[in-house]
Symmetry: C2
Subunit: 158 residues, 2 copies
């Protein structure tokens, strides 16, 4: 294998900025959601997916696919959310192995209370300082990066 091609100064700088942006935006949004709504980002994400379907009830595996989470991660997280009364589990009549996840009234109340201030925070911390061109550029490059990573790990032959 050839000599390593290190990052040049611009790449280095952009890479660090990218990493740091992720860190600070993630932390800021998480803190906002936690302090104002007592929800983690993950809780929020689960609740969003549940409210997105008609009857607010999903099979665990559908939810996992929609969120692109591992089953195990989701199962652990659902247990924590169930303990807090945000969601419930129900048995599935047609498949004895399966379980439905249902949104509880408290879960619905929690996300309805949380969503507006969360969106405000996303604007405040992110979109407020971006131009339309920035948004377009970001969307475009993110799409390419996602495609690249996913292409690589689904067919790891190189």
């Amino acid at each position: 294998m050839a000599e390593t091609r290190w990052l040049d100064d611009h790449e280095q700088h952009a890479w660090r900025a990218y990493l740091r942006m992720n860190a600070v935006v993630g932390a800021a949004l998480a803190k906002q959601l936690q302090t104002e709504s007592m929800l983690s980002m993950q809780d929020f994400e689960v609740l969003v997916h549940l409210t997105d379907v008609d009857d607010a009830r999903l099979r665990v595996s559908e939810l996992a696919r929609a969120m692109r989470w591992e089953k195990s991660r989701l199962s652990h997280h659902l247990s924590r959310m169930e303990k807090r009364g945000l969601i419930g589990r129900e048995e599935c009549a047609s498949d004895g192995r399966g379980a439905f996840i249902v949104l509880t009234p408290q879960g619905r109340a929690a996300i309805e209370a949380a969503a507006p201030s969360h969106v405000d925070a996303v604007r405040r911390f992110f979109f407020d300082v971006l131009t339309d061109d920035d948004v377009k550029a970001l969307d475009s490059l993110a799409g390419r990066v996602i495609a690249r990573v996913e292409a690589t790990d689904t067919c790891p032959a190189e």
Copy 2:
């Protein structure tokens, strides 16, 4: 407070792409580092900072400041790394409270082995699909976002 201003379609799409890019790039790099070098991203980051200084020794608080990690997080992480022999702790003569963190030979060997393939992965998953303009745009927008978030949480008066 006025009606919530939800994200429009472009913003929504870009925001999801951004979040997903973070998730997949982070996961791919973490997995690469873990499987090829038995290091987590955090291990790597700590080791990078240690090798960046002349004598490969730093006070815990300097390291925390440089990495912008909470003391507690760093302390926990250093304990785990110490257990694996990547770093060591030494008492500080001039300040009885303090401790130096030192890079062990194994720690140095680990990062020297890990760095080239990590950089390769960063290129493969990220820079390879970006143009110079993308890199410039990303660096610029990330800088603005970081500034905004940091301005907000250091002076939370609004």
